[in-house]
């Protein structure tokens, strides 16, 4: 059974088709990089998976349970259960600015899962150490650099123990140095066998960390394969053209 199964996914905004027909699946332990030109629908596709956007048609199943089947959504409780298996990291972090790093991590856990304060605090420290932010547990988000904020955001998502992590251009708001520190954390997650779906423009990450690459173009997945296949022998001219701009 695949962790995520997507079939014939369609989505438009005010008459403009953003996703025309998206099909793919994610297996346990997969680290998938979703690449492609701007406007290809990568972020929209990711946002549909976690119910931040409503699809117009198609099927999304999470661990065998449908979130939406042939364009018809499951009841809210089932949708919540399905999306609850995923964690999401945004381009602009979206930390809670009024809460300390500690409370950013513990608040959702305590409110959603009813975890006790001490247990939540212990888990927060442990998770922050994983992303190299253990020493900043009592800092306010406004005092952190972009890279630090993103690492905290990753930790916050990890607190809820998701089976799958979705990343929506996690380094696009960061300079090259900060990008490296965030990619380092993501690489570590991958090494720990976290299942990850990463929308990214970081070709080095796609090449070196991902085990599969989805190349999206014009609202569909034009080509899919291992990094060697996609980077070494792209089947489509569009893929080759896109990567031509990215080969170092």
């Amino acid at each position: 059974m695949s962790l995520i199964f997507v079939k014939n996914l369609r989505k438009g905004f005010q008459g403009v088709e953003v996703l025309t027909d998206v099909n793919f699946q994610v297996d346990k332990g997969d680290v998938i990089a979703v690449i492609g030109p701007s406007g290809a629908g990568k972020s929209t596709m990711l946002r549909c998976l976690i119910d931040l956007e409503k699809v117009d048609g198609g099927t999304i199943e999470v661990e065998g349970e449908p979130l939406v089947k042939d364009g018809i959504y499951a009841p809210p409780a089932q949708v919540r259960r399905a999306t609850g298996k995923m964690g999401m990291v945004f381009q602009n972090f979206h930390l809670f600015p009024h809460l300390s790093v500690r409370r950013n991590l513990t608040m959702p856990l305590m409110k959603v899962k009813g975890t006790g304060k001490e247990q939540a605090n212990a888990l927060a420290l442990e998770t922050l150490k994983k992303v190299g932010m253990g020493d900043r547990i009592d800092a306010m988000p406004s005092t952190l650099s972009g890279g630090q904020k993103q690492r905290v955001a990753i930790a916050r998502a990890l607190m809820l123990n998701p089976d799958i992590m979705l990343f929506d251009e996690p380094t696009s708001a960061l300079d090259p140095m900060l990008t490296l520190e965030v990619l380092g954390v993501m690489q570590k997650l991958a090494a720990d066998h976290m299942t990850m779906l990463v929308v990214t423009h970081e070709m080095s990450f796609a090449k070196e960390v991902a085990n599969r690459i989805l190349f999206m173009c014009d609202g569909t997945i034009l080509e899919e394969g291992t990094p060697e296949q996609i980077f070494g022998h792209p089947k489509h001219q569009r893929t080759a053209d896109f990567l031509g701009n990215n080969i170092k």
Binding site: I50, D51, L52, R80, T83, G84, M86, G87, M88, F90, N92, H94, L95, F96, P97, H98, M107, P108, K111, V112, M140, P141, S142, R156, A157, L160
Partner: protein, 218 residues
């Protein structure tokens, strides 16, 4: 005027201080939550509720507070016996009128605060599994409040000064005693003393809100 006369006049004026403080405290306690409720109702999914709330805010902000006080104190008792009984006390009318009026302003202030909360905050809450109430309570409200705070300070200072309006429905407060003292003594000094009393109240208020702003900064 001698020093003892000044002291006596000040003492006379301070008789009205209780009224000012009562008005201020009760109106703040009533109108802040009421204003917040209006803000929430103005976002309600049921359109007629939104229209009603917006009409309410439109009317309350668009007409003079003194006219509203007159309407409640002099006008409503003619409507029926219930209002006649309920609105016998001028102070009750003042508290009601001020609270209803200030709630409309606070509703708009909170609306501004709400607009300032980034869409990403709602999305972060959703993907973390927080429900609507939790999202509002733990993420949106604290940020909305912080943004609204300087405007709330402003409104509070206006409220202290506006309490002088209840003079018009024959409630004895600082301005009333000042006017009486001026007629009695023939000196305009009581006005100067009233001036200082309002200024002192607002200084304290400002100190409090400055402290609150610092404390809630992030």
């Amino acid at each position: 005027m001698t020093t003892s006369e000044i002291l006596a006049t000040t003492q006379a004026l301070l008789q009205g201080l209780g009224t000012v403080i009562t008005l201020f405290v009760v109106v703040m306690v009533a109108s802040l939550p009421l204003g917040f409720l209006l803000t929430m109702l103005a976002r309600c999914r049921i359109a007629p509720i939104r229209w009603l709330v917006n009409a309410y805010i439109y009317i309350m902000r668009g007409t003079p507070l003194m006219l509203q006080l007159f309407f409640i104190y002099y006008g409503l008792p003619f409507v029926n016996d219930f209002f006649k009984m309920a609105l016998r006390s001028a102070m009750v009318c003042a508290l009601l009128g001020f609270s209803l009026n200030y709630a409309a302003y606070f509703a708009e202030i909170f609306r501004g605060g709400l607009l300032s909360v980034d869409k990403g905050q709602y999305e972060a809450c959703q993907v973390l599994g927080l429900n609507r109430v939790q999202t509002t309570l733990y993420a949106v409200l604290p940020q909305m409040f912080r943004v609204a705070l300087p405007s709330i300070t402003n409104e509070s200072i206006t409220l202290v000064k506006d309490t002088a309006l209840v003079f018009s429905i024959s409630i004895m407060e600082v301005l009333y005693y000042a006017k009486a003292a001026v007629s009695r003594t023939g000196s305009i000094l009581p006005y100067a003393i009233a001036f200082l009393i309002y200024l002192a109240l607002n200084s304290l208020l400002q100190l409090f809100f400055n402290w609150l702003e610092k404390k809630t900064a992030y």
